[in-house]
Amino acid sequence: MTSELLFAVTGVILFAIGAAGTILLANLLRRVLAFNIMGSGACVVLVSLAQRNGIADPVPQAMVLTGIVVAVAATGVALALTRRLHQLTGECETTSSVEHD
């Protein structure tokens, strides 16, 4: 198998790990990290699959650049909210109760 495919599979694995983390972890900071891993996994797949025959494709690269910026934005929001929650409750985990007020 080509190195691009290797990258692609790695991307898939990263995505799976990240997704599982985002679902399972309780601590919000860890979930933010997990989400970033997930996102980068998707980006790796996007770039590597697109250049399976070796030659770089600028379109997915540009899209990945966009994806990264979007991920940065989301991370910023997530961290700010986590920090706010920490100020209010002193903890970094979301309770799952709906009635919570």
Binding site: A8, T22, M38, V45, P60, A74, T94, V98, D101
Partner: protein, 485 residues
Amino acid sequence: MTENIALIGVFTVPLLWATLAFLLGPGRGAFVAITGSVVQLFLALILARSVLVDGPLNHSTGGWGAPLGIDLYVDGLTAAMLLLTQVVALPIFVYARSYFAPGAHAARHFWPLAGFLIAGMNALYLANDIFNLYVTLEIVGLAAVALIAAGGGAGQVAAALRYLFAALLGSGAYLLGVALIYGTYGSVSIATLTPLIDVAAPRVVSIAALLMFAGLMLKSALFPFHYWLPAAHGGAPAPVSALLSALVVKAAIYLCLRLWLGPFAPLVQAAAWLPGVLGAGAILWGSAMAIRTPRLKLLVAYSTVAQLGYLFLAFPLLTPGAAVLGAVTLQAIAHGLAKAAMFAAAGIIIHSTGRDAVAEVAGVAERLPLTLFAFALAGVSLMGLPPSGGFLAKWLLLDAALNAGHWALVAVIIAGGLLAAIYVFRVVRQAFLNLPEELADRQKHTGRPVPRVLEWMAFGLAAASVLLGLFSVDLLKLIAVGNPL
């Protein structure tokens, strides 16, 4: 050219006024927002008219055209959703202007965020490019999260975070799907992909489709992915809840519909029963929770979970030749109007009683008749009773289900209507009770006087959702333009 300007304006105008509102500073910008929304409504009407007359419309940004560039595409469905968004947004903004107390912390960044939210949705309806759709999804998601969290207590921030992670998980899955599609076909333009994807497509395409649908269902809070919605929509300030419940969830569902009927149509027919089953689950579960919760806004939020179920319930009926798309879109529109009205009314009631509790609604029939009337009218549409838009949609759905011999769907739709009646009248009949003394005294302190404009906005939205049921010929004609059914 006019329709092209309308097409571009419908998302550039809100982008502009959102930025201006931010520039003006915290709490400012209501005026630009409302002015802009009037313009948007006008543009959306121009678009709808041109689609109805000259058929679907395509706009290639940068003049390159797909697959190199990004295309924007308007057909009847798009035009209808654009109309819904502007029609709901305008009164809700007028409502919000009087709802937020001056200097309220929740209001400091409401206008710019709301502007980006609307712009993101309008762009989402137009984009004909699965990667561009990803970006629009993120605008909508982040703006929504911020609106929920703004100036709220721990409960709101926690709800916002839960929603944020649900949204991120969803868009992550969607993005991987896009990556796989691009890797397989070398394009992200829906127009380019649709002819390429057929039943013989490699299995990776099915996986990609699965990822994208799963992500979107997570964002649209389809049962059992609804866990984030009640707290988020029930906890936010009333105007925000109205925007989220009426519009934002619809955006993700619209996208499901687009992909379902468009590029992935050859792959999904086999799995059509799945969204149907989940939709049925949503209707029953959401209604059951709405019947039980003691909090007023939470009741309305759970009713959203239930009502969204109808939209997915229809997926098994979306077979070529059926007019179900009209019914689905009509349900989306009717629910949008009704739910916005209901959250607006709930906001007023809570504003005047000072407590978010169904038990405290007693006496509202006497104090706020117009608000209660709005709540009840919206309820009529949610229950699917005539002559509301919800009724017409339900009628069309039942008709389709019966003709297709799907008796289970018929049963669920009928049952859903009755359950809705239970939770709507839980509130209405409570409102007719005379207010007990002790509550009256307490509410003197907790409650605040209600500006009339709030009541009229709620009433207007509710009335629209009911009248929709009497004048839908053109709307249904519009929806039918250029859709593959």
